[in-house]
């Protein structure tokens, strides 16, 4: 009798463990491997030709930014250890620190660019992919100082980014994946449920970033839209990154809903609606937030993303045993 009672529980435990492993093996680890590969290519391209107009360099930049965006919701553990996430992706930059920090390096011709250890100590605002975007696309930064110094800086940032991505990937493979595969009392994760809840939280964070930052920042208010607060508008990637994030988070959501086909179908449909709403926007920089007729489509997209968030909180959360606590989920 006891055996019969325990059996389903045991099965449920196994299924949860499978989900955690599947997320690591098909979503997290390949995502960080891809980020490592794309940032290595970017660094190689910068070494080969560091001129801002170089098409291969710009192409490699786009690929690296997309690879980061696809894992940017996995912002815990190795991703944030040693502030790697901020060093690779300092955004949003609400106080305009990136152009200030870059200008500081350029006008003083700071020699940290010639020493990778010294460059790793430079302000995170002047490092990573978002700083690189300024050096490749910003009107003012691309004309500040000498071309020669800017070239060294581009190479230093690209090499530093590749190192950060390599460290993230290695740390995920060598340390954190094992920690998440074997939760134990007293550990960082005390149970399989906590592992899944961590991934659930990552999904929620990613969707929040898309709704409130990637779309919310440029939308601002109707009276005060803020087109230059869009993510990567200088390189024209703003809308593309919304799509990249949604596509990656769709994958994670369906993995988390594994074993519940109805829920998978529901979530897939919600993500597809959002992706469809994105495809109806012909506005790579989201500059249309200032035009009433174009703005409405961007708002519609934000609404679709918020609908995904609701479905995730209401339907996926309970399945994963995330308590719907009045205070525990509030946070303040």
């Amino acid at each position: 009798m006891i055996r019969i009672l325990l059996f389903p529980l045991f099965l449920a435990g196994m299924a949860w463990a499978d989900t955690g492993n599947d997320i690591l093996d098909t979503h997290v680890l390949p995502g960080f491997d891809r980020l490592e590969a794309r940032t290595q290519t970017l660094s190689a391209m910068a070494d080969a030709d560091c001129s801002m107009a170089s098409a291969p360099l710009r192409g490699a930049f786009t690929d690296a930014v997309k690879a980061w965006t696809a894992v940017s919701h996995m912002r815990f553990g190795p991703t944030e250890a040693e502030n790697r996430d901020f060093a690779l992706a300092f955004w949003p930059d609400t106080r305009g620190m990136t152009p200030k920090a870059l200008t500081g390096l350029i006008v003083t011709e700071d020699q940290a660019v010639s020493d990778s250890a010294a460059f790793a100590e430079v302000s995170v605002a002047a490092r990573g992919l978002y700083a690189l975007e300024y050096l490749l696309f910003d009107e003012r930064i691309t004309t500040t100082g000498t071309a020669e110094y800017r070239c060294s800086l581009i190479r230093a940032i690209a090499a530093d980014g590749a190192r950060l991505a390599r460290d993230m990937a290695a740390d995920w493979h060598d340390r954190y994946a094992a920690l998440m595969r074997s939760p134990a009392p007293g550990g960082t994760y005390q149970s399989e449920a906590e592992v899944l809840q961590e991934f659930f939280k990552a999904l929620g964070t990613g969707l929040q970033m898309t709704a409130e930052l990637r779309l919310g920042r440029p939308l601002g208010t109707y009276d005060k839209p803020r087109s230059t607060r869009a993510e990567m508008w200088r390189s024209g990637l703003s809308l593309d990154l919304v799509r990249t994030a949604l596509t990656s988070q769709r994958e994670l959501a369906l993995l988390l809903a594994q074993g519940d086909e109805q829920l998978q179908t529901e979530l897939a449909a919600k993500f597809d609606l959002a992706l469809e709403a994105a495809s109806r926007i012909d506005d790579p920089t989201l500059a249309g937030v200032t035009s009433p007729s174009r703005r409405i489509r961007i708002e519609a997209l934000q609404q679709r993303v918020n609908e995904i968030r609701e479905a995730v909180a209401k339907d996926l959360g309970p399945k994963l045993g995330v308590s719907a606590g009045f205070n525990s989920l509030d946070g303040d």
């Binding site: 815990f76 553990g77 944030e80 250890a81 502030n83 901020f86 300092f90 949003p92 609400t94 106080r95 620190m97 995170v124 605002a125 920690l179 007293g186 960082t188 961590e198 929040q208 970033m209 709704a211 409130e212 930052l213 919310g216 920042r217 939308l219 601002g220 208010t221 803020r226 607060r229 308590s323 606590g325 009045f326 205070n327 525990s328 509030d330 946070g331 303040d332």
Partner: protein, 358 residues
């Protein structure tokens, strides 16, 4: 026009209420925001027996409240990034005034009255500058905005009066947010929380920071003991695997110190301190963690965690008749020793506010 009407209503209410006391409001011992079973939000008065003495509807989810020192007047604050605070007559339920955050500001959900009840202080965000402000409102003149002072930090949350009745202590959480970006945290790589002491007219008297390893430990909530010891609850914004205490203590003129415990005890709080309260005559301090579903009690002298009490979705802490009471989202009001005071179908919101009526 609306301002003028609010001003007149305030004058009228003020002229009608001076004779009323908290006893006329059913002598509540505590205030708490909460959600009724039908999903509507109210500010509740809670009696010594744990029963609601009144409830007054508020426009949206509340957070904390401020109780006037002698008149039965309470201010209910919206959850951040809130644009409203409602001043309520707790006898009639009438809205005395509605405070709107000035252009470019929002409330953080906390506030308090000056000892004489003449001034209301509110923690606010100047979100374009990304700087904290303390708003000053004239409680004797319809809650007119009198001005504002710097909070000496970013993201001011809870503030308290020091025992000298002349000094404010403010928890500057350090996290920058902007209403256009919802509740997203915008400055984690450079955040720097602090504890700031201000005179009632806004002069910065002392600002203290925790050591560098706590730079991402956001200081949000406070309590002050009778001898001026400040206890602060923190929320860890850094890496999950890193262990940081959720409680700290500070005495002016000395360095702030964290209150640690064993690794298991510290992990159990999930890096999230919700409310904090001294009890046992100031000899002990309690900190709640809704995310960890527990309250931890520490001895002020040893400065270490002494005991843990598990309570689902707990957050509010407050003294009632000298004993420590907890409130939770499940509707439970429970003494810290485990005995239940009352249970209602009300989801009690983050904080319990004692009424110190004379």
């Amino acid at each position: 026009m609306r301002n003028r009407r609010g001003f007149l209503a305030g004058l009228l209410a003020a002229s009608l209420t001076p004779r009323l006391s908290w006893a006329d409001a059913g002598a509540p011992a505590l205030l708490s925001a909460g959600r009724a079973p039908d999903g509507a939000y109210f500010l509740y008065g809670v009696s010594h027996q744990g029963a609601p003495t009144f409830r007054i509807p508020i426009p949206d989810r509340g957070h904390a409240a401020a109780a006037h020192p002698d008149r039965p007047v309470a201010v209910a604050f919206a959850r951040r990034p809130g644009r409203f605070a409602v001043v309520l007559n707790c006898v009639t339920g009438a809205e005395i005034a509605r405070l709107s955050a000035p252009e470019g500001r929002h409330f953080y959900g906390h506030g308090m009255f000056s000892p004489d009840g003449a001034t209301l202080f509110t923690t606010e965000n100047d979100f374009e500058a990304g700087e904290g402000r303390i708003g000053l409102w004239d409680a004797t003149a319809g809650y007119r905005r009198m001005g504002e002072v710097s909070s000496a930090g970013v993201g001011p949350h809870e503030m308290r009066l020091m025992p000298d009745d002349r000094t404010l202590v403010v928890a500057n959480g350090g996290v920058e947010t902007h209403p256009d970006s919802g509740r997203a945290k915008l400055n984690l790589p450079v955040m720097q929380p602090n504890l700031a002491y201000l005179s009632l007219d806004g002069a910065v008297l002392e600002v203290v920071q925790m050591p560098p390893e706590h730079r991402q430990n956001s200081i949000r909530h406070l309590d002050v003991s009778g001898d001026g010891l400040v206890a602060f609850a923190m929320q860890w914004q850094g890496e999950e695997t890193e262990l940081r205490p959720v409680l700290g203590l500070h005495k002016r003129g000395a360095a702030p110190r964290a209150v640690p415990g064993s690794e298991i005890e510290m992990r159990a709080m999930n890096g999230y301190g919700g409310s904090v309260a001294f009890f046992d005559g100031g000899a002990q301090v309690a900190v709640s963690s809704p995310r960890g579903g527990r309250v931890q009690l520490s001895n002020v002298t040893t400065g270490r965690i002494a005991q843990s009490v598990e309570i689902e979705d707990v957050c509010g802490l407050g003294l009632l008749g000298g004993r420590l009471l907890t409130s939770s989202g499940t509707g439970q009001l429970q003494w810290i020793d485990g005995a239940s005071l009352s249970r209602a179908r009300i989801a009690w919101d983050n904080h319990l506010i004692p009424i110190n009526a004379g």
